[in-house]
Amino acid sequence: MYWNSKDMSVFLEQQEYIDTAVVPLLLVDGQASKLKQNASSVEFIMALTAFIENQFKGRVVLIPPVTYTQRTNREQLGTEWDEMLKEAGFKHLFFISSDMRWGTESSSLDVIYTPSIPLEHMDKKLRQSVLDDQLRQIIPVFAKRWANSTK
């Protein structure tokens, strides 16, 4: 499901089935030296999360990307989103980012870190297969967390 009115009306009816939020965490960095690389990784996470949405459409809601800058207090940002989404009724939260700092810091957030792969020079087919491979690595992570909760 996407965060749009059509999907949200399904969400409200089927809330018992749709219990997972996927949140892309995107660092936006406008420094000239990092701009291109940053844009490429944003592009990658957006594409990857759209793929995840397509695979798990009936159980996850893809939250609009959470963007932040180098100066943002990430701890606070994470807590805010975490609390808000739990209050909204989501049992599972998957934060996905290619910003390594989420993993290294002692953050209360459980962020799935995925290295960014530059997609811009790939043709459509290669892009598709690269994203498919990434998705295949993420599926078990999802399955495991879902399985843990039902036991």
Partner: protein, 167 residues
């Protein structure tokens, strides 16, 4: 011929009828056009999309066949990549849509080790038999949709979806 002269009256009659005819046509054309508009509508998505799957390679085990087509979302045209689960049943080629009838997740063949000969939806453990029929007691309420298929030059082409005809 030369003595068959056109009188002033005749000339004016012809001219007025001609001009009047054009004007009437100009008014009637759009009306008729509106009236029969549904007939003129191009049917979108009715065409077959080529894939690069050789029909000779198909077996009784469903395989994933990717295809992509253009989709227009209001003003935004983009390529959509999708796929079908394709297998052979006797001489018939069956292409099933991977979209779960429950809430639209993507199902996979043999996706669960416990059910190696069924389609499995990872979201809510929905299951379908090989012909797309939903397994009773799992969340899906209907069978998987089916794609129309045709073969051209030995390659598979995928068309519109339609309700499952195998069940």
């Amino acid at each position: 011929m030369s003595n068959n002269r056109v009188s002033r009256r005749q000339f004016l009659n012809y001219t007025l009828t001609g001009v009047g005819g054009f004007m009437a046509a100009g008014m009637l054309m759009p009306m008729v056009r509106f009236a029969i508009d549904p007939v003129l509508q191009k049917s979108e998505g009715g065409d077959f999309v080529p894939t690069d799957k050789k029909v000779a390679e198909l077996t009784e085990v469903p395989v994933r066949v990717d295809f992509s087509y253009e989709q227009t979302d209001a003003w935004y045209v983009h390529d959509v990549t999708s796929f079908a689960w394709v297998y052979k049943e006797g001489d018939r080629i069956v292409a099933l849509s991977p979209v779960c009838k429950h809430l639209g997740c993507t199902v996979s063949w043999a996706g669960s080790p416990d059910y190696p000969d069924q389609f499995f939806c990872p979201c809510h453990a929905g299951r379908y038999l090989k012909n797309g029929d939903n397994v009773q007691g799992t969340p899906p309420l209907g069978p998987l949709d089916e794609f129309e298929v045709q073969v051209k030059d030995g390659l598979l082409q995928i068309g519109k979806t339609r309700p499952n005809t195998l069940v």
